[in-house]
């Protein structure tokens, strides 16, 4: 692993309508052609094949456990015994919904498209992401992964906002923004940034969904007031706070501390070995370099894709713990040097990193060290 600190060149502008985004378009960094490991067509076709079986099994397990843990939490409500059940319910609601949203949004989880659409809508509601807005923002995330001013889904901007990062583990900042966006959308308003990546013909759907969600949350809040209990909110809404930690724990590892403004996913994404429970919750998104390089490979085929292309990738991070051990010091260094990032070594069998589209440091900048 190599630590890389380029010259500081002023603050990055993450505004989707800002200077860095415009520069990315002008320099060809936006909508660029990205590096891909060579995979024979026959093998890639096999890897991309869709199947309903794994996702039906996993969805029955996911929703079944949600009902079981939720019902147990309600049954034991008022005693300490409800705590472990709500803890498990919260993770399945506030964290597992993230990967279900993601995979069904790609349309790869199920072969049958209506199943992708149904689970996508359910998961979007749980994770509080407008299904229209986030479908388009995620398309942009894959077009311009961690390109400053283009990618709307950069979780850790530079310099990192550590308070916001920590609050993210209990969902506070996410939910605040999600609720604000929902109310604004329900009132019929889309921000200029939203309009920059959501086509005009889709924008009405954003408003319609937001209004439906406001009605649902109003109903749950009304029920809580009527019952004089937060129990209804413990089942709908609050799990997005108390169950978000697993999603954030895994999600930060996707790109945290790695390069930005590059066109090689091996430089800006991280594959991490994880335990089977986390992989179920996260639906194999720990194979994140592989997912970004070939987004149409379903989650259940990612271990096979990893085996097929690992010779061309940096060694996977061996554990979640190891990921944080390399990521936290990187975040701390980025507080002083925005351009600092972790550059992992490639195996001798790999093709060199594609670095030709690195945005060069501004002329005249002082060296950082």
């Amino acid at each position: 692993m190599t630590d890389v600190a380029l010259n500081p060149r002023g603050r990055r502008d993450y505004d989707l309508l800002g200077a860095d985004g415009r520069r990315a378009v002008e320099t060809g960094l936006a909508a660029a052609e990205w590096y891909h490991t060579d995979v024979p067509r026959k093998q890639m076709k096999e890897l991309m094949q869709r199947s309903d079986g794994p996702a039906i099994r996993d969805t029955i397990l996911w929703l079944g456990l949600l009902v079981l843990f939720g019902a147990s939490g309600v049954y034991f409500w008022g005693t300490w015994w409800c705590v472990p059940f709500f803890a498990a319910y919260g993770v399945l609601y506030g964290s597992a919904s993230d990967s279900r949203w993601h995979e069904c949004g790609h349309g790869t989880a199920f072969r049958t498209q209506w199943m992708n659409r149904v689970v996508y809508q359910i998961a979007c509601f749980m994770i509080m992401r407008n299904p229209v807005t986030w479908r388009w923002s995620h398309a942009r995330h894959h077009t311009d992964t961690i390109i400053v001013g283009r990618d709307p889904e950069i979780a850790v901007m530079r310099p990192p906002d550590l308070v916001r990062l920590i609050l993210g583990f209990v969902g506070i900042s996410d939910v605040w923004y999600a609720m604000s966006d929902m109310m604004r959308n329900a009132a019929g308003h889309l921000s200029a940034a939203e309009k920059s990546f959501i086509p005009a013909m889709e924008q009405r759907k954003v408003v319609r969904t937001a209004r439906i969600w406001v009605a649902i949350y109003a109903g749950v809040i009304a029920l809580s007031i009527y019952m004089q209990s937060i129990l209804p909110l413990m089942l709908v809404g609050l799990p997005r706070l108390y169950g978000a930690w697993h999603m954030v724990m895994c999600g930060l590892l996707q790109h945290g501390g790695l390069a930005d403004n590059v066109t090689d996913h091996r430089l800006n994404s991280r594959t991490v070995h994880m335990n089977p429970v986390s992989r179920f919750i996260y639906w194999n998104m720990n194979y994140h370099v592989e997912h970004h390089m070939f987004p149409m490979v379903p989650y259940h085929a990612l271990p096979r894709l990893h085996a097929a292309i690992r010779h061309d990738l940096p060694a996977p991070t061996p554990s979640i713990w190891a990921g944080y051990k390399e990521m936290i010091p990187a975040f701390l260094r980025q507080l002083r040097y925005e351009d600092y990032f972790i550059k992992r070594e490639l195996p001798p069998t790999a093709k060199p990193y594609r670095e030709d589209l690195h945005v060069p440091p501004m002329p005249g900048a002082a060296a950082a060290q």
């Binding site: 072969r111 398309a139 149409m296």
Partner: protein, 104 residues
């Protein structure tokens, strides 16, 4: 009236698959349906720059390898977001062992 050019041999494309054909600076996608019929469309997704020949053919649908945009390759019709604009299609005919496409 377009010109007919040879794009590939009929055995160059597997059933329910697609290959890329480049001609005079334009990229085409040549499909063979599960029934063995040939079709041709523009080779680049109408959403963003991605080659459809890297995508997955499922029945009558070609799925873009980048963002899951889907098209009916027989008609070019966009079938699911983020693909919103239809693909251009081109007439195809078979002559002996060759697949010919009428290019514009």
């Amino acid at each position: 009236m377009g010109r007919w050019v040879t794009a590939c041999a009929i055995d160059d494309v597997d059933e329910e698959d697609v290959i890329r054909f480049d001609h005079e600076g334009k990229v085409y996608a040549i499909y063979k349906s599960p029934q063995g019929e040939f079709f041709a469309t523009n080779g680049v997704c109408t959403h963003e720059h991605a080659y459809l020949s890297d995508g997955l053919v499922m029945g009558d649908i070609i799925e873009c390898p980048k963002h899951n945009g889907r098209f009916d390759y027989r008609t070019g019709a966009a079938r699911s977001a983020p693909a919103c604009v239809d693909l251009a299609t081109f007439p195809v005919r078979i002559e002996g062992e060759d697949v010919l496409v009428e290019v514009g």
